[in-house]
Structures are given as C-alpha cells and as structure tokens.
Amino acid sequence: MTTLVRRHIADHGQSTGVMIGVLLLILLGTLRYDNFASLYNLSSFLNYNAMFVLITMGMCLVIMTGGIDLSVGTVAALSSVTAAGFSAHGLEVALPVGVLTGLAAGALNAFMIVIMRIPPFIATLATLLAAKGTALVISDARTVPVDWASNFTQLGMNNVAGWLPWSMLLTVVVGIALWLLVEHRPLGRVMLAAGDNEDTANLMGLSSGWARTWAYVICGGCAGLAGVFLASGFGAGQPLEGLGWELTAIASVVVGGTLLTGGRGSIPASVAGALMLGLIFNLLNFENGLGTFNLSAYWQMVIRGAFLFIVILLQVKITRPLAGD
C-alpha cells in the first residue's frame, strides 16, 4: 500500500506540486507588488507566454512518445518569417501559412525519424539548422516587417474583453484539443504506448509509427503557430529568434514532472511548468522595479538554471526510493 501511495506521488505529485507552486507565485506577486495583479500585467504576461506554452505542449507530445524535438525554436523563427511575409494578405492567409510552415517542418522530422530511423536528437538537430538557414535565406538575414495596415497584428496585440490576448485564447483552444487527444483519443494513447515501449506497441498491433509521426507533426504545428504569434506580437518576422526555445520547452516539460524517458506526460502539468518559468521571470522584473536590489537580465538566466537544478534534485528525491523496489 505504501508503494502505491509513493507511486501516486511519483505519478502525480509533481504535477500537483507545480500547479500549487504557480498559485503560490501568483499569490506572492499579488501581495508584494502593486501592479502585479493589474490587467495590463496579466495580459502582457499571457501574451508573451502564449508562444512558450504552445511549444511546451508540442514538446510534451514528442517527449511522451520517447522522442525529443530540438527544432521548435528555429521552426518558430522560420514561421514568423513566412507569416510576416504573407501578412499583407491578412491574418486569414498569414496564420495558415505560418502554421503550415511548422507542420511541414514537423513532417520532415517525422519522415527522418519514423521512416529513415534517424535518432530524434540528430534528426531534429538537423531541422534546427536547416530551419535557421532557410529563415535567414528567405529573410535576407533581416527582420521582416509586417503589414501594419492588415489585421495581422491583431492576433498578437489585441485582447478579448480587454484582458485576454487573442494569442492566449487560441493557445487555450489548442491546449484543450491536445489534452482531449492525449487523454481521450486512441491516437494519444498509442503515443503514450509507443513511448513506453515501441516494440511492444507494434506487437500489440498498434501503429506506433503513425502515432509518433503525428506527435512530431503536431509539435511542428505548435511551433509554427508560436512563430505566427511572434511575428504578430513584435510586428516583424524574426529569423534570429528562437535559439534556446527548445531547451526552455524541455525545461518546462521537466518542471511539469514528465521524465524524458517517454510513456508518460501530461499537457496541463507541462503548461503549468511553462507558466512557472514565465512567472519567475515576471516576478524578478517586478522585484527589480521595487529597487530593493537590482538584478541584471543576465541574472535571470542564472536563476532559471538554478531553479531547474532544484526541480531536478526534488525529482531525484521523489523517484529514487522507487528505484529500489
């Protein structure tokens, strides 16, 4: 019975912990800083983090299948360029173009990984380089200004009801769809089974190759949409952005309690992980504003790393006793 309890903690404890952590951070921010709970901060926080939440969810799918996708950052950058390039035609054209760019990159990853059997780490590393190269080539290594006359920037700059950014609203919709996929659709269950043990899943007659293909394609699509948000929110396609995003996404998934070994994963917990990393940034900015001490932007990277370190140590502490069973 104690094993079951411990296993439960190992399964869900960290996800719950992260969600509680997010709430505590919000509470701390609200009590300590005057403008933290303002609509302005809320909407800019949600807007900025929509991109990271998206790629984190895509990454979560891929990690569930036992893989990894290093290309999400540069794919987002590439999509921001293509979307910005089509911005004159309006959101209804530019958005699909950006998402399709991401889906194509995801399909390329899937092809290399599932058909050519190249290890995910290498295949997506290649896509990282290729996407960066392509983005630089088609943008001539400069930012690509969007057409301000079109409705393109509304997605990244306007809010619904005055506080909920369109980007976050779309992200929430995608998130719900992905959650349903993972928890309640056979395809999502096969993704988990394939990540647990691919050979077994195949022997059970499940098409795990198909499931893995979808995971990479969806992950690419999420990166593509994040790229559209990037272009729309900053008013330009950013060919040089996105470096290190993949690792932020991996860190968010890990903070959310999903190990990289595959076969497990939770969309809500990963989202909580991404929000937690974002909140830490946000709070540090406010702390700087208070002027009690001044941390340069560089410190934030150090603190993020240290935070990840602490989370990993906690994970080791929780999962270690199980290893002895």
Partner: protein, 332 residues
C-alpha cells in the same frame, strides 16, 4: 543456436573487418572529395593562407568535439559546452585585465588560464555528478549549465565586450609553430593523447565498456560512475580550452557569442565522424575529420559566394546523411 553458431565460424569473418574499415573510410573519403572539389573550383584554395585559416577555424570545433566524443562514448550528451566556453573565455581577460593583472602581467595571465580551466573543470564535475551520482538524464543535467552558464559569464562581465592586448595570451589564438597555427598542433597533441588513452589504457577500455553496456560493465567491476564523471569533466575542460582559444583569436571576449551553437557543431562533428549516440564508440580521428568536413563545407560555400545561411542547411543534410549511412551499414 546451432545454425547461427556455424555461420560465426571462420567463413564469416571478412565481413565485419570490411565493415570496420568502411566505417573509418567514409568520412575520410568525403573529406578528400571536398578537398579535391575545392582544388578544382575554389580560387587560391591550395595555399598556406587558406590552410591556416581553415585550421584556425576547425581547431575549436575539433577540440570541443573530442570532449563531446568522450561523453557520447559513455552514452551521454553535453549541451553545456558552449556555455562553458563562454564562461572560461570571460574569466581569463577578467583576471588579467584587473589591476593585479596590470602589475604582474605574466603571473596573472598564467593564473587566469589556470582559473578558467579550473572553472571549466568544476562545470564538468557538476554535470558528471548529476549524471553519474544522481542518475539525471544527460540532456536534462547539462541543460542546467546550458541555461545558466552563459548567464553567469554575462553577469561576471556585466554583459560587456572585453577587448584586450595581451600578446602572451593571444599566442594561443594567433601563434604559429613551424609555420602552422598553434591550435593545429594542439589538436594533434590532444588527439594523440586521446587515441592513446582509448586504445591503450584501462580508462579507454572502461570508457567503451561503460558506454556499450553500463550494467554489464558495472558487474564486471568497472567503476562506471567514475568513468562517466571523468568523461564529463574532460569534456568541460576541453570546452574551456576551446573557449580561451576563440577569445585569444579575437583579442576580445564576448560572453554572449563565444561558443554559441558550439554544442551543435560538436555533436555534428562527432556523429559525422562515426560516434554512436547510444555509446560504446570513441573514434577520435574520425571526429576530427568530421569537424574538418563541417568547417570545409562552410568554407567551400562561402568561398564560392554561397551565403553562410545556406551552409547551415548543407550542414544539416550532411549530418542526416552521415547518420543514415551509419544505420544502413547496420551499426545496430
């Protein structure tokens, strides 16, 4: 087993031998083709000038890639090499540009180099500790320093570009020995030591066994945790050295850019050179050839008017082709 065992007898032996030779000759062949292609197409390719430019460029990649090869041989990966380069590269000028450095330039430059290598070593110990004692997955473990290492370098330098004029230290980047850049000699020296260690010493054997089958190695009395620890430490040490070289070449240290994306180049060089990501193989010569290929492709394209961006795409294609060929040849 009867049927299979009969085929494992003498008749079948030429096959594996041939495979071994092919594995090593593939990258070499590609390199020779590249050189031949350039000799025909690229103007002024066969000159000392071109050679030393390329050696200078390839040296940092090769040094980091050899460290990466050690880690990959244990079945791990080190994402933090670029950040460690930045950190080591930031510390050196920080020390010899200080007031004490102005008063005692010689001693403080030496101290600076030792301190930088020391910090790099500490980074490696940190990675190795997480991986071997705490059992954290290598990607996640080295992600910590990847994120915070560069930040730390920027904190130390306040994000400033540090320019300097220190001939002794700059020798590391611009010096020549027998007409060839000093880094080229350094690469050869490190490679010679690495090849010797892997093929001739106990540690080398332990390294391959730990990567090939850690559980079996452990039960055979191999100190797997220590081997991993040493591999990560050496990898970080070499990254630190490469970080200093790249700072010395530029006579300036920019913590934001030093070693950026180096982890990718190093992994690419290792993989193109024949290292297996699942571990158990440490082909150092191949890895140097891999680094040379990656550098030469970039050079070829640039020299022929193809922009650097396209080189990225070509690099991606080379990596995929190399791994695909490796898997076709049946390295599991």
């Amino acid at each position: 087993m009867k049927i299979t065992s009969s085929t494992a007898s003498p008749a079948a032996t030429p096959a594996p031998r041939l495979r071994v030779r092919l594995r090593h000759s593939g990258p070499l062949l590609a390199l020779l083709l590249l050189i031949g292609f350039n000799a025909l197409i690229t103007p002024n390719f066969l000159s000392m000038q071109t050679l030393s430019v390329n050696i200078t460029q390839v040296a940092t990649i090769a040094i980091v890639a050899m460290g990466m090869t050690l880690v990959i041989a244990t079945g791990g990966i080190d994402l933090s090499v670029g950040a460690v380069m930045a950190l080591a590269g930031a510390i050196v000028p920080l020390i010899f540009l200080s007031s004490a450095g102005q008063d005692f330039p010689l001693i403080m430059t030496l101290i600076a180099i030792i301190a930088a290598l020391g910090v790099a070593t500490l980074c490696g110990l940190f990675n190795g500790m997480l991986v071997s004692r705490f059992g954290v997955q290598p990607i996640v473990a080295t992600l910590i320093l990847f994120i915070s290492g560069r930040g730390l370098a920027q904190v130390l330098t306040n994000g400033n570009l540090q320019t300097f004029d220190n001939p002794m230290f700059e020798y590391l980047g611009a010096g020549r020995l027998l007409g060839a850049p000093i880094q080229g000699w350094l690469v050869m020296l490190i490679a010679a030591i690495a090849v010797f260690v892997v093929s001739r010493t106990r540690f080398g054997r332990y390294l391959l066994a730990s990567g090939g089958n850690p559980r079996a190695a452990e039960l055979a009395g191999v100190p797997v945790a220590r081997v991993r620890m040493i591999a990560y430490t050496l990898c970080a040490l070499l990254a630190g050295l490469a970080g200093m070289i790249s700072v010395a070449i530029n006579s300036a240290s920019d913590a934001a850019r030093n070693g950026q994306l180096m982890e990718l180049d190093a992994i690419a060089a290792a993989v193109v050179g024949g290292a297996l990501l699942q571990g158990g193989r440490a082909p150092f010569i191949g890895v140097i050839i891999g680094a040379a290929i990656i550098q030469l492709v970039r050079y070829t394209l640039l020299a022929n008017g193809v922009p650097d961006e396209v080189a990225l795409i070509v690099k991606a294609a080379i990596i995929v082709a190399a791994v695909y060929l490796q898997s076709l040849r049946g390295g599991h």
